[in-house]
């Protein structure tokens, strides 16, 4: 489905922006950049006040009661919106694929969740696949590489969309990672539950990032980015980490995730 973006404010389709907890708490610039991109694509953007988290940390930890409690709040906050967009494949994946399962024992809530799931999108795929909008006007004169998050890749089929958009950025040269479908070792609580294994995984990733000769690594998920940035900084590698939305919105004048 491609929606046209009519001119006047009230005619515009409305997007409920799910900021995601990591962008909200750690890197608000990602949320601002998402607002900018969605508005440029012709949407009216609202940020529902009641939002906090999608419940994924509890869901993946097996605490389904807590996950349902949090997810119910999410449903209440986003139910009125025609579209729900998140600058994260992981959160969008949770909403699209897992929310219905989470409420398997409550048919009414499950139905609500399934309806919402169908309207939930990852940011870059929403812009490209749903809005059919690729008119990026941004300059980023850097050699960059792109890290695909596992949820973007495998749950949301997001692979080409960010690349399509990045191809429109002036001055940007994209060099692909050799192991681009390999996990960076973040995995939510995995990275603190099994830190040795996670460290090995992220070190393999930072080594291949460094091997591309890029000065910046981009990704569509902050979890991966915080992990990769933290490891790059510890290794003393002068490579900057940014969310793809910041570059696409021309908002890459802030410091990277960890200053290089």
């Amino acid at each position: 489905m491609v929606v046209s973006a009519p001119g006047s404010e009230s005619d515009r389709a409305c997007v409920g922006l799910f900021v995601t907890c990591l962008a909200d708490l750690f890197r608000p610039s990602v949320a601002w950049a998402s607002v900018t991109l969605l508005e440029r694509a012709g949407f009216r953007v609202e940020v529902p006040k009641g939002q906090t988290c999608c419940g994924q940390p509890a869901y993946n930890s097996g605490d389904l009661r807590t996950a349902r409690r949090v997810a119910r709040g999410f449903l209440d906050a986003f139910e009125p919106f025609e579209y729900v967009v998140a600058p994260s494949g992981s959160c969008a994946g949770m909403l699209r694929l897992h929310l219905g399962r989470l409420f398997a024992s409550e048919p009414e809530e499950a139905a609500r969740a399934e309806r919402l799931a169908g309207r939930t999108h990852e940011l870059t795929s929403f812009l490209v696949d749903v809005a059919g909008w690729t008119e990026i006007s941004a300059t980023f004169p850097h050699r960059v590489t792109y890290h695909d998050s596992c949820s973007s890749l495998r749950e949301m089929a997001v692979r080409d969309q960010p690349r399509t958009l990045l191809a429109r950025v002036d001055g940007l040269e994209l060099v692909e990672l050799p192991d681009r479908d390999a996990c960076c070792g973040f995995g939510g609580t995995f990275c603190v539950k099994y830190p040795d294994i996670s460290t090995k995984m992220v070190s393999d990733k930072t080594a291949s990032i460094a091997g591309t000769g890029a000065d910046t690594v981009l990704a569509g998920d902050l979890g991966c980015l915080l992990n990769i940035a933290g490891r790059l900084a510890r290794e003393g590698r002068p490579i900057a980490c940014r969310h793809v939305a910041e570059v696409l919105a021309g908002a890459a004048d802030t410091d990277p995730v960890v200053p290089v």
Binding site: V19, A23, D24, L25, F26, R27, P28, A31, W32, V47, K49, Q51, T52, P57, A58, Y59, N60, S61, G62, D63, L64, T66, A67, R69, V70, G73, A77, C150, S151, R154, E155, A182, C183, G185, F186, G187, G188, T189, F190, C191, V192, K193, Y194, P195, D196, I197, S198, T199, K200, M201, V202, L226, A229, G230, R231, A233, R234, D255, V258, P259
Partner: protein, 473 residues
């Protein structure tokens, strides 16, 4: 032998594995070996996705009426002159095998590769009862010499480097003790093992193999090998014992063929294994060779309890090993760190069913849920979904730490109260941002030392987005 107790040592064992240079060198070959070969095989075979669907369908149909297909298998097998034995537990299976061997005076048992024998701890048990066991699969033979257990379900000695294998042969092969061992290539090592093993096949009074699948409507067992060792194991001795688990049955040979189309491609990247052998009953009067007795031992060991649960889908597994070949956790620590028979993703999904959620506790948790296993699984087993299922069982049984439970409950409570959440997180982020100073990072955070031991912790920006947005003019 695996007794399940070592699973509790997973964090320590994985730390050791990460520091083991030989192991790390061996594991590096997973990527350019198994992964690249599978990718090539799938690209060469344009119908791969359809073949996957057909194989999945065959197993789904089987599992819907598993008891029916098992009874049909038993009836057909016995019509062909075979004998089927039912074993509920590993102890039952060991006893059945032991009695078959001792009642026939068997002293030497040759053995093809079977993970089920590892699952029931067969080798050690038989040796305690005075029966010599000779592993005939090259990888199994190597680890038997090293007195180790398999670290991979299709490449049991994958953790060994070439020089380590050369050293083992030098220690154990009499003729190499005197003269230096000049052979160094893999082909030379295979030739050396073959020379030693050929003699042993003829000495064996019985042969034991696993089964890649069992065919209900013909009563046959089917094995695939690349070395031909399975054929010698099952046709030369007078007694052939097949040790298999109940979910290995498929209704027809056509269903088995559907599995064969995806098995080797997913496992080793071959279109087909070198040998695919169908055994139906003992030797007939018109056969030129074969055993005079054919027995099938069918083990349950908790599998039937999975039927009808969300974890039932693990029973589709055809043991190709693709999940572990592509798993970043397996690739980092290898199979031994898992501490039990089936390592990697399939082990993490299956082991809680076999040993209990508590005993297997680390396994379903030690995954970043990256989903690569599910992506390559020819049987489309939703492995991450099954890990989550076991994690929920663990949480229900209160087996996770008090700290983790408390943290989740507190966070959940806060997240369900948006205004308090904004207030609390706003204050916390402000403090975290201020304390980080100009470096904008933490080198050490007491509550997140798992993170900061190897990574800097990026400082938050300061004011949260929601607080800024709500205060817009």
């Amino acid at each position: 032998m695996f007794d399940g107790r070592e699973i509790a040592q997973f964090p320590e064992a994985s730390a050791r594995a990460l520091g083991d240079e030989n192991l790390q060198a061996a594991l590096r070959l997973l990527g350019e070996g198994f992964q690249a070969r599978r990718t090539d095989a799938v690209e060469r075979f344009s119908e791969f996705e359809d073949a996957r669907d057909a194989a999945v369908d065959a197993k789904r149909r089987t599992l819907r009426q598993l008891h029916h297909h098992l009874e049909a298998f038993e009836a057909r097998c016995q019509e062909q002159g075979g004998v089927v034995h039912w074993a509920e537990t590993p102890a039952d299976a060991r006893q059945i095998v032991l009695e078959l061997l001792t009642s026939r005076g068997v002293r030497v048992l040759s053995k093809g590769k079977t993970m089920v024998a590892e699952e029931i701890g067969l080798n050690g048990f038989l040796e305690e009862h005075g029966i010599e066991v000779v592993e005939t699969d090259l990888g199994e033979y190597i680890i038997q010499l090293a007195e180790e257990v398999p670290s991979h379900i299709i490449a049991p000695a994958i953790h060994k480097t070439m020089p380590q294998v050369v050293e083992l042969f030098r220690q154990h092969h009499d003729k190499l003790k005197a003269a230096p061992f000049p052979r160094r290539t893999p082909a030379d090592l295979v030739a050396e093992a073959r020379t030693v093993l050929r003699r042993r096949y003829l000495e064996a009074d019985a042969g034991l193999t696993g089964a890649n699948f069992l065919v209900a409507d013909t009563g046959s067992s089917v094995i695939v090998t690349n070395e031909g060792n399975g054929d010698l194991t099952q046709t030369l001795p007078r007694l052939h014992i097949v040790l298999a688990t109940i979910e290995k049955v498929v209704p027809t040979l056509a269903d088995g063929a559907a599995i064969l189309r995806v098995l080797a491609r997913s496992a080793t990247g071959q279109d087909m294994s070198a040998y695919t052998t169908i055994s139906t009953g003992p030797r007939r009067s018109t056969d030129i060779d074969g055993p005079s007795e054919y027995h099938v031992v069918l083990l349950d060991n908790g599998r039937s309890s999975l039927l009808g649960t969300p974890a039932e889908e693990v029973l589709r597994c055809i043991r190709c090993g693709a999940c572990m070949n592509h798993c970043p956790v397996y690739g980092a620590v290898g199979g031994h760190a898992y501490g039990w028979v089936y390592p990697g993703p399939i082990g993490a999904a299956l082991t809680p069913a076999l040993l209990g959620v508590e005993a297997a506790r680390h396994l379903p948790n030690a995954s970043s849920l990256c989903g690569r296993c599910e992506e390559v699984c020819p049987m489309r087993i939703p492995l991450p979904k099954i890990f989550r299922y076991w994690r929920a069982k663990e949480h229900e049984a209160r087996l996770n730490t008090v700290r983790a439970r408390l943290a989740l409950a507190l966070w959940g409570w806060l997240a369900a109260h948006p205004r308090l959440y904004r207030l609390g997180t706003g204050a916390a982020m402000w403090i975290l941002s201020r304390l980080a100073g100009r470096s904008r990072r933490y080198r050490n955070l007491i509550l997140a030392n798992g993170w900061t031991r190897s990574r800097d912790f990026p400082a938050p920006a300061g004011r949260t987005f929601l607080n800024s947005w709500n205060r817009r003019p």
